[in-house]
């Protein structure tokens, strides 16, 4: 029995290797053979992955399977050892390679992310957190800050208005002047997502947004993710362990194990996939 399963896994891995973008008519972000090696450890092994424009895509896999490493490679926190990350900003615009660009440039190009362990600016207010998200869409420099000329003031007012608007849309306006560290855990998660949205991303990457949330908070998060997809023109890539959430929101799921993709497909297929079951539950 085990030999048969192994063969199947091999065949599928080969299949994903060749067919980058397969089943994805209009991708917004693709990776081609992306690998990350730390010393002797292969954290990511030639991953090909595509996110369809406007969809919610999920990455799942056991702990240590390389999901967060993949995020870090795509968003410029790590420089991938091999492979390409390609952004297709719009159908009529040329594609861009994001490989090796610094994190702030990648954010400017339209990728925004949240972190597995919340990384808010704790001693700043909620509104300021979101305002910092606007940074890359603002232009004022030193001269503008010192003279506070009309252009700077207008830009600042517009940024505040827009940030506050985001807080209103996503239900954080009542806390706008609170320090981020004083927020309840669920609201901190939400703020981190709103802060990422403030950068006007084309692709939003959420790293385990439901981690540490209770059932009610997870339900609110699910609504939030759906709201975001409807309100903003944004594609979402989601790492999540909460299978209930993943199966409900995502259109396509990629499964990682030991730094490789072992399966991909719509939720109902993934649920039945023997390789996925094996990766999660092991075999006897």
């Amino acid at each position: 029995m085990s030999a048969g399963l192994d063969k199947g896994a091999g065949a599928n891995a080969a299949g994903t290797g060749t067919g980058s973008g397969s089943g994805c008519v209009d991708p917004i972000l693709s990776t081609v053979g992306i690998s990350m090696v730390f010393g002797g450890l292969v954290a990511l092994n030639s991953v090909d992955l595509s996110i369809e424009r406007g969809s919610i895509t999920a990455l799942i896999g056991p702990n240590g399977s390389g999901k967060t490493t993949f995020f870090n490679c795509v968003t410029g926190i790590y420089k991938p050892t091999r492979g390409e990350v390609i952004l297709y900003p719009a159908l009529d615009l040329p594609s861009k390679s994001l490989k090796g660009l610094p994190a702030d440039v990648i954010t400017h190009e339209g990728l925004a992310r949240t972190f597995q362990n919340i990384r808010l600016f704790n001693n700043l207010t909620v509104l300021e957190n979101v305002l910092i998200g606007r940074h890359t869409r603002m232009r004022a420099g030193l001269w503008g800050a010192l003279t506070r000329n009309r252009k700077t003031r207008a830009e600042e007012a517009a940024a505040i208005e827009r940030s506050y608007g985001l807080l209103v849309t996503y239900g954080l306006d009542a806390m706008a002047n609170e320090l981020a560290k004083n927020l309840p855990y669920g609201a901190q998660r939400r703020l981190e997502i709103v802060r990422a949205l403030a950068t006007e991303p084309k692709v939003l990457l959420l790293d385990e947004p439901a981690a540490g949330l209770n059932i009610a908070e997870t339900a609110a998060l699910r609504d939030l993710i759906s709201d975001i997809r409807e309100n903003e023109k944004v594609s979402i890539l989601l790492i999540e362990h909460d299978m209930n959430l993943v199966m409900k929101v995502s259109k396509k799921i990629y499964v990682f194990d030991y730094g490789r993709l072992i399966a991909q497909g719509p939720p109902d297929e993934i649920q039945k996939d023997p390789k996925v079951i094996k990766a999660y539950l092991g075999e006897d």
Binding site: L120, A140, A157, A159, G171, L172, E178, P184
Partner: protein
């Protein structure tokens, strides 16, 4: 459960701390035994043994130790009650704050403006009614305010620990000193030049330290400070340890301020006849510099650039993920912070008219850093207060001079334990609703709030990992 500290609680705390305090007192007595009991009698060259002072020492350390422990406990206790209070009424509590807004309105701006005018008026009159000594002290204090505000940009706002800040002050002072000594350039030409030189040196130091943070940054900046001092001490151009003397004070359109203007001030405004009017002029120069600095630092803090610095201080990874170019943010913080040190240095050189490397020792860097930490990291009024306290206090404590550093150290320790945020803690700008500024929350917001905290009941918030 009550959240108030009752008398019985205080009693219990004191009792539970009794034993450790006794132990501490005993330990101190043991350590201090030789120096407290033996004294030398110089007349007949003999030792004298006496236990007279020991009871005082024992009692003193015991009481201090009790107090110390009590305040520590109290602080922890208050922290706990606050946390309990918060988790019980969280959504209620959070809605208490002013209604947020579309446009910025600064908190308490109604009285702030008047307060600033009154303060400015007092500052303007002060030098004419004080003694020359007081004016000198005030100039020094204001120089330290400038230095503190400049370092605040680097340390308080951007979170880059700079232990060599005094070097930029030295660079500013030497820029004026050297240019005046060799080329006779005036104060007004050298003021921008001094600032510019310091900025360039800040950039120069900034490049190698871009990749460093925390302890490593502290070590590099500390070395930079020492290198600068040693270079100034060993170059012949800077006249080594002899320094540069007879630096011109700042000129006022070529008018001799100690001539006719002084006569006028002494006769009609009853200014102290011993006063050097140049000092009063320097006072106004540094006062203007301080005002400009305050305005600029305030504007910076609430700008795109300032927020980038704050973000960098809070989380270096997240700030890059928000699209902030960390390299550029670090460099601008370093360079701008140094600019103010350079400007203050030029004023310093013109104030005391004599500079040598000994004026710019490591202790100076520590003093300015203490100003920022004591006053409150990132808080403009805090840093101003810190500068005034730390530069004027030593002058007032001259009779105490032997124990000055000891007192200073004890003060810093106490501050760090009981008020780590500084004398005046930094507060963030509050945004108040313009159209709906009555402070009432709408029911809609409440519903959303409950949905997102998922916790109308208190136990849910207790589940956070």
């Amino acid at each position: 459960m009550t959240h108030k500290i009752t008398a019985s609680h205080i009693g219990r705390v004191i009792w539970s701390e009794f034993k450790p305090a006794l132990l501490a007192s005993f330990w101190i007595c043991l350590l201090a035994f030789p120096i407290m009991t033996l004294s030398i009698n110089p007349t007949n060259q003999s030792f004298k043994f006496s236990l007279d002072r020991m009871p005082y020492l024992a009692l003193g350390t015991f009481v201090l130790s009790i107090l110390w422990r009590f305040f520590l406990k109290r602080r922890a206790f208050i922290g706990i009650t606050k946390a309990v209070h918060q988790s019980e009424g969280l959504p209620e509590d959070l809605r208490k704050g002013p209604k947020p807004s579309w446009l910025t309105v600064v908190k308490a701006s109604r009285y702030r403006r008047q307060g600033i005018y009154v303060l400015l008026a007092i500052m303007a009159i002060l030098p004419f009614i004080s003694s020359p000594y007081t004016v000198n002290v005030m100039v020094t204090a204001l120089i330290y305010v400038t230095l503190g505000l400049g370092l605040n940009v680097v340390v308080g706002v951007s979170g880059l620990l700079n232990l060599g800040y005094i070097a930029f002050y030295a660079i500013g002072a030497y820029t004026y000193g050297l240019l005046n000594h060799y080329f006779g350039l005036s104060f007004w030409v050298c003021l921008p030049l001094g600032g510019l030189t310091a900025t360039l040196m800040g950039l120069l130091l900034g490049f190698p330290v871009i990749r460093l943070s925390g302890d490593y940054l502290a070590i590099v900046t500390l070395s930079f400070g020492e290198i600068t001092r040693l270079v100034l001490n060993n170059l012949t151009v800077t006249r080594g340890p002899r320094g540069i003397s007879y630096i011109q004070p700042a000129g006022f359109f070529g008018i001799d301020l100690n001539g006719a203007p002084k006569e006028f001030l002494v006769n009609y405004l009853r200014v102290d006849p011993a006063m050097d009017i140049n000092k009063i002029f320097t006072y106004f120069i540094i006062l203007c510099l301080v005002i400009v600095t305050i305005i600029f630092v305030f504007r910076l803090e609430n700008s795109r650039l300032g927020r980038a610095w704050l973000a960098m201080r809070e989380d270096e990874v997240a700030c890059q993920a928000m699209g902030i170019n960390r390299t550029r943010a670090k460099l601008t913080a370093f360079a701008l912070g140094s600019t103010w040190a350079g400007l203050a240095g030029v004023v310093f050189a013109s104030q005391i008219t004599f500079i040598n490397p000994a004026s710019f020792s490591f202790l100076g860097s520590i003093l300015v850093l203490s100003i920022v930490v004591l006053g409150g990291m990132g808080s403009i009024p805090g840093v101003i207060l810190g500068a005034i306290v730390l530069s004027a206090l030593p002058e007032q404590l001259r009779f105490f001079s032997q124990y000055r550093m000891l007192l200073f150290g004890a003060l810093m320790v106490l501050m760090m334990v009981f008020r780590p945020g500084g004398l005046i803690q930094s507060t963030r700008e509050v945004y108040i609703h313009k159209t709906n500024g009555n402070g009432k929350g709408d029911g809609n917001g409440t519903a959303r709030l409950e949905a997102l905290t998922g916790a109308p009941k208190p136990e849910a918030t207790g589940e956070r990992p």
